[in-house]
């Protein structure tokens, strides 16, 4: 039987809680405190395991209820709304690269690159004007945030170990 979205989420949470439970029970008990450091995490993990199991069970029952009769004609699938999951994945990668580059390139350079690239990713520049506007937004965003945070709010923003800037 196939598991649905809820079932998979429940299984992942169940696996995490069952993997951590022995660790919680194995935490050292202290003589001065009536309950050890593992007491509360064990309650939380047991509760999480229970809820995860119920979610898996609910999903299995729901799948069984929704299973189509064998002789029924295949229903016309409803058109699913377009979801740009590729764009989401690319956005996560861009943000991760930005975070990775921050200590290497420094805040100013990394932010100009990030804002510029992220804008291009979300809206492909089809003209020179759009490209110039995106570049201007990138430079302005980096400059304004740097001035406000570094100079006005005295936040020591990351300096680049590669650039020294």
């Amino acid at each position: 039987m196939r598991l649905g979205r809820d079932g998979i989420a429940g299984l992942v949470c169940l696996a995490i809680s069952l993997a951590l439970l022995p660790h919680a029970f194995g935490l050292p008990r202290l003589p001065i405190v009536p309950i050890g450091p593992g007491f509360y995490p064990a309650i939380v993990l047991s509760f999480m395991a229970l809820m995860s199991a119920v979610l898996v069970l609910q999903d299995l029952l729901a799948q069984r209820r929704q299973a189509p009769p064998r002789q029924a004609a295949p229903a016309e699938p409803a058109p699913a709304p377009t979801r740009a999951y590729g764009l989401v994945a690319a956005s996560f990668v861009t943000i991760a690269v930005y975070i990775g580059l921050l200590p290497l390139l420094g805040f100013r350079l990394a932010t100009v690159l990030f804002v510029g690239v992220f804008q291009m990713l979300l809206e492909r520049p089809r003209s020179l004007t759009t490209l110039l506007r995106q570049a201007a937004v990138a430079v302005a965003a980096a400059a304004v945030t740097y001035l406000v945070f570094n100079d006005y709010l005295a936040v020591l923003l990351p300096r680049g170990s590669w650039t020294g800037w």
Partner: protein, 506 residues
């Protein structure tokens, strides 16, 4: 009390507090009016700017965002039929039809004025009721606190739109995040597996920013190919001539409607993490039930707009009450405010008002003053705001992300918090994709440490576990928690039965 409030107002009228309050309100109105940008998101964006400010200035800015955001959502509600923020959802039902009937100005200003009056009535209750509520909370021992937190979590899990099981599981994930790191009594490392990165646990704010900001932005990016031409519609919006006096007369000739919507908003605000959207819909529903002309609802009826907007602004004062009297966030926005208070070394809770009178009455004053400021902002900047509202996601998303990174980084000037932000960004988005509600997770995250501490304190004081049930307040709170779970199950079963009946009705 009122002399403290007067000195609080005089204090906040100083430039160093008034300017952050004004900026916060302005950003709140604009953020609230941007479809897809919630008030939580806006307060997260403004958060890093408050680190370097005086605690009251920072909290004034956040209060401004909260008040401004609760009102700002109505602009796109009326002009586009899309709620700018979830708390304005019910305004769409009548605001949009009224605007389509050629009265966009009347629709928006009915909402703005109702927000002002609802918010100010809520402020009156905030000032009068928070102190007595805190006095009740002072009588609480660890048993009562533990039970109160359990009730808060049970209610939030039960009231989420997803299933009760998912709500409870989400709460458990939030609680689990708080046990990672060292234990609060003996500093024994838990679930760190020798890693220095998580040795001290996960800092609250980067986790919160990661979960909410990424879940929001990535969900918007997902729908980017379907994005319409909303911007151009907004930019072309023109208001008809109308009278502000007439708009106010429409509100005040039905004082019961205004009062009842305010009371609904306040009560929903006091209950933890239910939020403005529920108060807006509930007040709208109540207004329709009590109305002499219920058939006009949904066709541009002024009563619908007044109920929704008065309620969602009064909801803000209810949330502030809960955070100031009990130290429990009423919703995600007050959760961020609670985090900001912690950064400044301020402990919210029953002793907050007596120990920090200047700050607490400063918050009251900021809340009160945010309303005339919001009114002035809407009056002067409405045409500009409508243009700002048409800004594209391609421009907005990178800037919001930079501010989120700064919000995490500026917390302690280390990259560790930024890495935590990214990790929990992935977690937040994954949770949204599997339909797991985020509000219970956040409440679990905020209350996790306190629940553990109070549980340990209670057991160390007297190791009889029955005390949780036999102490009257504690027992009552646990009974209420159990009832709220039972009610949620009953509602779920009733909904399932109705769905089955509808399915079989050929």
């Amino acid at each position: 009390m009122f002399d403290l409030l007067a000195s609080g107002i005089i204090n906040v009228l100083q430039w160093k507090y008034l300017l952050p309050l004004f900026m916060g309100t302005l950003v709140g109105v604009v953020g609230g009016s941007l479809p897809g940008v919630t008030i939580t998101m806006t307060v997260i964006v403004i958060l890093p700017f408050t680190y370097g400010l005086d605690p009251l200035a920072g909290l004034a800015a956040m209060t401004g965002v909260y008040v401004g955001g609760s009102t700002g959502g109505l602009i796109t509600c009326c002009l586009l039929g899309i709620p700018g923020s979830p708390s304005s959802i019910a305004t769409t039902f009548d605001g949009f039809p009224m605007a389509r009937n050629g009265q966009p100005g009347r629709a928006i200003w009915l909402g703005v004025w109702a927000s002002v009056w609802g918010g100010l009535l809520g402020a009156l209750c905030l000032v009068l009721v928070t102190g007595p509520l805190a006095a009740i909370a002072l009588e609480f021992g660890p048993w009562e606190y533990f039970s109160l937190f359990v009730l808060a979590m049970a209610m939030v899990a039960g009231l989420t739109e997803a299933s009760l099981v998912k709500g409870l599981l989400s709460t458990a994930i939030g609680l689990l995040i708080t046990v990672i790191g060292t234990d609060p009594i003996a500093s024994v490392p838990r679930f760190t597996f020798g890693s220095e990165f998580i040795g001290g646990g996960f800092p609250f704010l980067p986790v919160l920013i990661g979960i909410f900001a990424f879940a929001q932005i990535m969900t918007d990016i997902e729908k980017l190919p379907q994005a319409g031409k909303a911007g151009s519609v907004l930019a072309q919006a023109r208001f008809e001539k109308f009278s502000h006096l007439k708009v106010n007369w429409e509100i005040f000739r039905q004082p019961f409607l205004l009062l009842w919507a305010t009371v609904v908003g306040l009560i929903i605000g006091i209950l933890p993490a239910i939020g403005g959207s529920a108060s807006s819909v509930m007040a709208y529903d109540q207004a329709k039930k009590f109305s002499k002309t219920p058939e006009r609802f949904g066709k541009g009826h002024h009563e619908g707009i007044i109920a929704s907007e008065a309620s969602n602004n009064a909801n803000v004062s209810g949330s502030l009450m809960t955070i100031m009297a009990f130290g429990i966030p009423g919703d995600a926005v007050t959760a961020v405010m609670l985090g900001a208070m912690t950064i400044h070394g301020i402990q919210s809770g029953p002793l907050f008002i007596s120990q920090q009178p200047q700050l607490s009455y400063g918050i009251y004053a900021a809340y009160i003053l945010a309303h005339p400021l919001m009114l002035a902002i809407c009056w002067v900047f409405m045409p500009i705001m409508i243009r700002v509202t048409s800004v594209r996601l391609a421009v907005l998303a990178p800037i919001v992300m930079v501010l989120c990174v700064l919000g995490a980084y500026a917390l302690n000037n280390t990259m560790q918090s930024v890495y935590v932000l990214l990790i929990f960004g992935l977690v937040g988005y994954a949770m949204v994709k599997v339909g797991m509600p985020l509000a219970p997770l956040i409440l679990g995250l905020i209350l996790g440490d306190q629940i553990e501490l109070n549980l340990i304190r209670a057991i160390m004081t007297d190791n009889d576990p029955w005390l949780f049930f036999t102490r009257p307040i504690s027992g009552g709170l646990l009974l209420a928690a159990a009832l709220s779970v039972v009610l949620a199950i009953w509602q779920h079963l009733r909904h399932q039965k109705r769905t089955l009946e509808e399915d079989t009705d050929f």
